[in-house]
């Protein structure tokens, strides 16, 4: 870029950057937090704390996945409980029936979730918008009803995870805790890298205007399918962690639409379309649940009302408020132009 300034030709140097000062701070803060959480079981976390944190980590994964679908893929699903349930049943089946041990069982559960999501996408993608939302819900109901027909999976009454039997409770709880901590780090990082990639730029274009994105060469259906399968694998991961944390899988709870409702609340409260939003949302949701669940059904009435108000009047969510309309980015996904010092023409070779 060159411009004339007081008669002398001046070249403005421009650099393209992704990272910001806040993102360096963010990386540092997250690294310290993760390190502290990792040594927690040796130092300051009780067994109860660890089990609660597994729940929080699960919420972060679930929020991140729903945000990937809706915030980047433009797909509102009310059927993600299907993949949570498959993940929960998957870890029990792989760990107990195939005998691979609980840690190896987690990726197996994820692969099963992803494979079923891939197959199901050919049906679900025939619908769009609100009908897609209900269609995914129907598919989740079908998967639940089919699961309850399978006697090997405990039919209507569910199954217990027995692979940890014999392990001392503190060892088991700490193992699940570290699995969950590693999972949440991997899930958020993979989502972040996916969004930052060339594919991710396509997703964003797709969400904002599918027709324009298609004209520019984005493979619309293929991109949506990548997001759909990735989000299902993440939900399967969360389901496997829930099963490992509670040792019990019941069809009515792991396939409950309430889980997807929780994902929606987390994303709407935290802020849709950012990596940070669902993390903030999950922490807020987790805290609200701890303090307000005594209110019974009123709790969900309040949560639903808050969600509607946020959607209508604060669509950027809490993270949008905290970050000052996106000026602070811990996980920058876009590109920024940084103007360097102007250089007088001729003073620079080439």
């Amino acid at each position: 870029m060159s411009k004339s300034l007081a008669g002398a030709a001046v070249t403005q140097t421009v650099k393209v950057r992704r990272s910001t000062r806040s993102s360096y701070v963010g990386v540092a803060v997250f690294a310290i937090a993760i390190a502290a959480l990792a040594i927690g079981p040796f130092a300051f976390l009780t067994k109860g704390n660890q089990q609660n944190l597994v729940t929080l980590f699960t919420y972060i994964i679930l929020g991140t996945m729903w945000n990937l679908l809706a915030g980047y893929g433009g797909m509102v699903s009310i059927g993600q409980q299907a993949f949570i349930g498959i993940g929960a049943y998957g870890i029990v089946y792989a760990a107990d029936n195939l005998g691979v041990g609980p840690i190896i069982a987690v990726p197996i559960a994820m692969v099963i979730s992803g494979a079923i999501a891939y197959l199901v996408s050919f049906l679900a993608f025939r619908l769009s918008g609100g009908y897609f939302a209900i269609g995914t819900w129907v598919i989740a109901e079908v998967i639940k009803l089919v699961t309850t027909q399978i006697t090997a999976l405990g039919a209507g009454s569910g199954i217990s995870l027995t692979a940890f039997a014999g392990a001392k409770p503190e060892i088991r709880i700490a193992t699940v805790y570290w699995m969950a901590l590693a999972s949440v780090v991997v899930a958020v990082l993979v989502t972040y890298l996916l969004i930052r990639s060339r594919l991710g730029a396509g997703f964003t274009a797709l969400r904002d205007d599918p027709t324009a994105a298609a004209t520019l060469g984005v493979h619309v259906t293929r991109s949506k399918r990548v997001i759909w399968v990735a989000a299902a694998m993440g939900c399967g991961l969360a389901g496997a962690l829930l099963a490992a944390n509670t040792l019990r899988v019941q069809p009515d709870s792991v396939y409950s639409v309430q889980l997807t409702a929780a994902m929606i609340f987390i994303v709407v409260i935290g802020g849709i379309g950012t990596i940070e939003g669902p993390i903030v949302g999950a922490i807020v949701y987790f805290a609200l649940e701890q303090y307000l669940s005594d209110l019974g059904a009123w709790y969900l009435v309040i949560l639903g009302s808050v969600a509607i108000i946020m959607v209508l009047f604060l669509p950027q969510g809490l993270w949008g408020l905290l970050s000052g309309k996106g000026r602070i980015q811990l996980f920058p996904t876009g590109y920024r132009l940084i103007s360097g010092p102007p250089i007088a023409e001729g003073s620079k070779e080439s």
Partner: protein
């Protein structure tokens, strides 16, 4: 012949599903809004009927005369406040807002009426039936539901085809901007569509409350069945929606006849088969009105 009986029961059940589906379809047609609170609102109507019958002792069918206008007013107010605001926001807002609304309604009903199953008592009418052949008996109440369903859909079809406001609704459905340029007030048309939709939900909700035991969580299944009837029938066609409701009803009753605990599952399977092989539905709109 128990199979023939199951088919007849399914057809009659289809009338109820069509009533539920017609409202969902109308709102989507006019403003491209999928109301995820549709099922929860049907349960509101069922409870409204229940309360009226229990508190005033009025006959259940008379309660419809009060429930329908109340639901229509609720629809009008919802559209003027929440839904119009949501339609003006980002693309995902209407889905998220109506989903939030469904959660709120369901949990308010839980607080007010507990999770116990209830139903609206119609006395001997619930069990009376007409014997057609030695094996086929048609329940009087399901038959009334079916006839009401067909009549209401017929009236709605005539309304959309022949009246000025009906034409305005179809015009808005086809091209919102052009309709606005022709002097049609979109907000008025939207409010009217939602009022009619919830009026239909009012009728359907009271019938549902008489037909089966219900509780606050029943809205989920109600929404899903209405949606399946719409998709099986094909978007944009009211008679298609009636046919879709009947096909879903038959799939459920025949399915339950074959596998007693899997009637609902077989209904879903038929829906998925239609989605797989005829994604535009079995009776898609050919000519509007």
């Amino acid at each position: 012949m128990e199979w023939a009986n199951a088919i007849v029961q399914g057809v009659l059940l289809g009338g109820l599903y069509a009533l539920l589906a017609a409202g969902l379809s109308l709102m989507f047609g006019v403003m491209r809004l999928v109301n995820l609170a549709h099922g929860a609102l049907a349960i509101v109507a069922a409870y409204a009927g229940l309360v009226l019958v229990q508190k005033t002792g009025m006959p259940p069918f008379a309660s419809i005369v009060i429930v329908v206008p109340l639901m229509a007013i609720l629809g009008w107010v919802l559209q003027r406040t929440l839904l119009n605001t949501a339609l003006n926001r980002q693309a995902l807002a209407p889905i998220l807002v109506t989903f939030g609304l469904a959660v709120i309604i369901q949990n308010l009903l839980l607080e007010l009426f507990t999770a116990d199953n209830q139903s609206i008592d119609v006395g001997s009418l619930a069990s009376s039936s007409i014997q057609i052949t030695p094996d086929i008996a048609i329940g009087v109440f399901p038959l009334i539901t079916f006839i009401v369903g067909v009549l209401v859909i017929g009236l709605l079809q005539q309304y959309l085809a022949r009246t000025a406001t009906g034409r305005a609704m179809r015009a808005t459905s086809d091209d919102r901007e052009a309709a606005e340029l022709m002097g049609i007030d979109n907000k008025y048309v939207y409010s009217l569509a939602t009022a009619i939709s919830l009026g239909l939900v009012g009728i359907a909700g009271v019938f549902l409350g008489i037909r089966t035991q219900f509780n606050p969580t029943f809205g989920d299944a109600t929404l899903i069945f209405a949606f399946e009837a719409v998709i099986i029938g094909g978007l944009g066609s009211l008679w298609g929606t009636l046919a879709g409701g009947m096909i879903l009803g038959i799939a459920q009753t025949v399915g339950a006849q074959a596998f007693p605990s899997s009637g609902v599952l077989l209904g879903h399977v038929v829906f998925l088969l239609v989605l797989a092989f005829r994604p535009t539905g079995l009776f898609p709109k050919v000519v509007n009105g």
